[in-house]
């Protein structure tokens, strides 16, 4: 599957085993649930590292849409909330 890290690019990630990615994604959600900024940023970094580890950068001229998109590494919880809001951050 293709995963995009915003501000960084797309990765082709081997999706035969997504256990670790899902675990980290759940961690990220839990952090949001507890409104815990520190845990959020640690979980986000962990998740992005895992994507980089498990994936390889997609050719820059690929036009394939991503299956999953992740916030940029230095995002705060508030940034992500805005990103998810209806007319949020995404231009266009």
């Amino acid at each position: 599957m293709i995963v995009r890290i915003l501000g960084e690019g797309q990765f082709q990630v081997d999706d035969t085993d997504t256990t670790e990615l899902n675990r980290l994604d759940t961690e990220l959600e839990t952090a949001v649930e507890h409104d815990d900024e520190a845990a959020f940023s640690a979980a986000l970094r962990g998740l992005l590292d895992q994507v980089r580890l498990q994936g390889s950068p997609l050719a820059p001229d690929s036009l394939a849409p991503s299956d999953l998109i992740l916030p940029r590494q230095d995002s705060s919880m508030d940034d992500v909330r805005k990103l998810l809001a209806d007319d949020g951050l995404i231009p266009g």
Binding site: L21, E29, E33, I90
Partner: protein
Amino acid sequence: MATKKLMKGTAARMGVMKRVSLVFKAKANKALDKMEDPRETLDYSYQRQLELLTKVRRGVADVATSRKRVELQMNQLQQQANKLEDQARKALGMGREDLARAALERKASAQSQLNDLQAQYAQLQAEEEKLTVASQRLQAKVDAFRTRKETIKATYTAAEAQTRINEAFTGISEEMGDVGMAIQRAEDKTAQMQARAGAIDELMASGALDDAVGGRRDDIQSELDMMAASSDVERELSRLKGELTAGAPKQLEGGANGNSQAGQAPQGQAQGGPYAPPPQAQTQSAAIPASDRPAEPQDGEG
């Protein structure tokens, strides 16, 4: 759960990853729905891609300009800090610890401004690098999109083209959304930094920053100058005093030396005795230490 907090009304088990990608897809679909003829979409999108590319390139240049400006200010502050340290050293040398302390306090303040600017500089540099990479990536995708667009237009009927168009459009609009956010972020950062840099420039120009950071350049410097001048005066004074007194004491010294030399003299002139007559004194003078000579020979000769 967490997701409910992030976005109401969506499945609770859906992760952040999924959610963000859905938002992007929704955006792309909305744009696609607006188009009557799918082929129109291709041209329209391509137009927007070119616009975005221009914008990103301009963004890279803006960030670079902003970075250079911060760099310039950092150099100015560094010079200021160096000057203050130099002043502190001079003040200490003159025994004015109070003045040295004042200079060092100002140096600390300049240093903290400098640290602040260094952090900004690093941020701008990182932003510049990211945007440069983003612009290269976007360029590659735009080129690929143009090729795809021509193929689709030439090969497929409107109906057949739909799926292919959708895919290409979704892919490129995801990239455009990403790059668009990056450029927006860079613009915000640059605007912030420019405002701050402008404020610092203004302060520097008005001399007010000198008060805050360097100290009105001259209150420490002018005191140092004054002290240097007055210590020059003191030095001159004591030199002159020395010259004035040199005449009398040196003659006395000379006499004393003469005596002691007379005491030492026996080596060469055993026969002369302690109070040798003038001619002998003159021969003695050759053995007198150089420092004592000027007075003695004159005496002897005169």
